[in-house]
């Protein structure tokens, strides 16, 4: 990976852009999708993110990694879109969301696993965005709390607090879902 040649003219370096997309395309589109829940909207955001990053590469300070920088642009862009009202309808078109709508015909243990996983997703999706985005970056993108803080422009401590509260909310939500939460019996 070619690293920060910040005074280059990125406009002349399409290979660098292709490399970013190869390395971080999946992370960017997944994060965009987690906000808008629409594959095509997520693609539009991802396109915008890479073009913006490439055009403003000269302004990249190099204090963070390229990945966190790209994710930071993604989060900002996705929030802008949500704020603008352009994407209010959060239709779930991801596999795990639909899986529960289809009557499973699998063996009982597979069904039980799937139901449990779906229950976790229902609970995650019901979290307020401030907690969901932290969870997404921490668990979904395998970032440290420090990196999550960089992406979202928060203090590390705030990220830790949100993660903790997010987990608490999840636990409560799972417990409410009738048996889908942590099983305290026998402990």
């Amino acid at each position: 990976m070619r690293q920060a040649r910040r005074n280059d003219t990125p406009a002349d370096d399409a290979a660098l852009l292709a490399e970013w997309m190869e390395l971080y395309g999946g992370d960017v589109i997944r994060l965009a999708y987690s906000y808008v829940h629409n594959f095509h909207k997520a693609e539009d955001i991802a396109q915008d993110v890479f073009l913006r990053a490439w055009q403003h590469y000269g302004e990249f300070q190099g204090h963070s990694s390229i990945k966190t920088w790209l994710l930071s642009i993604t989060a900002n862009r996705a929030r802008d879109i949500l704020r603008s009202g352009a994407e209010r309808r959060e239709f779930a078109d991801e596999g795990e969301a639909f899986a529960r709508e289809i009557e499973p015909r699998d063996p009982a243990d597979v069904v039980a696993d799937k139901l449990a996983r779906d229950a976790v997703w229902r609970a995650i999706r019901a979290l307020p965005q401030t907690y969901r985005e932290v969870m997404e970056l921490y668990y979904g993108n395998d970032l440290t709390t420090h990196e999550v803080a960089e992406v979202l422009g928060l203090r590390d401590e705030t990220v830790r607090t949100r993660l903790h509260r997010g987990r608490q909310m999840l636990e409560r939500a799972l417990a409410k879902q009738g048996g889908m939460g942590i099983d305290h019996a026998g402990r």
Binding site: G95, V120, E171, H184, R187
Partner: protein, 347 residues
């Protein structure tokens, strides 16, 4: 919450994230970004040249005002940098003009007929289906090599008994068994749609043609499916409540159409190709794709959209796709593409 609960919850969250469906970063998207960046580079270079020229002009003006004798030198010596931009523009214009005179570029998909002779296309009954609800035909492999199902894709369409153009069409598969050179088999298909009323009996005239399941070049194409000037955005797939039976299942595909032409487009003249691919970048030719063809007119009860789209106008449309129970609609990537009719041979 105990530490053990914490650990268990943590593990469940991690597992949920780890096992979720991936969101693909498609090759098409990568190509789109690279194209946009190349286009931005060209614009920047033109703008940069213009800026340089303006700066030089300003400098020259200053010189003219102060040193009259120097004027001539400046004018003669300077204009090297700005010129290429206008030269490029002119070349591009000439190039476009030249192409316009010699060839018409059609954006679309070339299809080549498969070497399958179709005869005795008729309405009939397949085992287990309602009377006269199926289309049967005799298929003969006219080539000297064995054809297998993934090699070809068929299009079945109907025309009214009183004459007229295609008024309903669908993709169909070739026979499941391999077709040896010269071999003839009877093929059958049970369509579902407006031609299957309450009795499900078919009343119109069926037609059938098979194509190779791969794109053909412009020169070798038997038929060209031309891209419509309609963009498709915001595609969503949702389950249909109660939309499944013992052997089948359905899903609703929603999409927003936008007229990108400078003229009005009658949606009755368009056809929609919808396909569900396993790979994010697969085309509808991909043998593993689950593909559908639709007229772009509302078919579902209570669903409506404008018949004609004015330039820039958008319409939200909805199609119901039906397939066998095992079709994994929701773990595939759904694509919607609009093509100009007709998609079927006119002979």
């Amino acid at each position: 919450m105990t530490t053990r609960d914490d650990d268990e919850l943590e593990a469940r969250i991690r597992r949920a994230y780890r096992e979720r469906e991936p969101v693909p970063f498609r090759d098409e998207l990568k190509a789109r970004v690279l194209r946009a960046s190349a286009s931005a580079t060209r614009e920047n270079s033109v703008r940069g040249a213009a800026r340089r020229r303006n700066r030089l002009m300003a400098s020259a003006t200053l010189w003219v005002a102060t040193v009259a004798v120097a004027l001539l030198c400046v004018v003669v010596a300077w204009p090297q940098a700005p010129l290429p931009s206008s030269a490029i523009t002119e070349t591009a214009r000439q190039s476009v003009r030249a192409h316009g005179q010699t060839e018409t570029v059609i954006h679309g998909f070339g299809l080549a007929y498969a070497p399958i002779e179709v005869s005795d296309v008729r309405i009939g009954t397949l085992p287990g289906e309602p009377p006269n609800s199926c289309v049967l035909a005799e298929l003969r492999n006219t080539s000297n090599r064995t054809l297998v199902e993934p090699d070809v894709m068929g299009v079945l369409w109907f025309t009214p008994k009183g004459g007229g153009d295609e008024n309903w069409l669908t993709f169909v598969n070739a026979p499941a068994q391999a077709l040896k050179p010269g071999q003839t088999v009877t093929w059958g298909f049970h369509p579902s749609g407006p031609h299957a009323g309450s009795s499900q009996a078919l009343a119109e005239i069926p037609h059938l043609r098979f194509f190779y399941s791969r794109p053909a070049s412009g020169a070798s194409a038997s038929l060209v499916w031309k891209l419509a000037p309609i963009g498709v955005e915001d595609i969503q797939v949702l389950p249909v409540a109660g939309g499944q039976g013992a052997t089948w299942q359905s899903a609703d595909v929603y999409a927003t159409l936008v007229n990108r032409a400078s003229h009005a487009v009658d949606l009755a003249d368009e056809r929609a190709v919808i396909w569900f691919s396993q790979g994010a970048s697969a085309t509808f030719f991909d043998p593993s794709a689950v593909r559908f063809l639709f007229h772009v007119t509302p078919e579902l009860p209570g669903v409506s959209w404008p018949t004609v789209l004015k330039p820039g106008e958008r319409a939200r449309v909805e199609f119901r796709v039906l397939s066998t129970k095992g079709t994994d609609f929701f773990s595939r990537v759904c694509h919607v593409l609009l093509l100009d009719a007709p998609l079927v041979p006119q002979d």
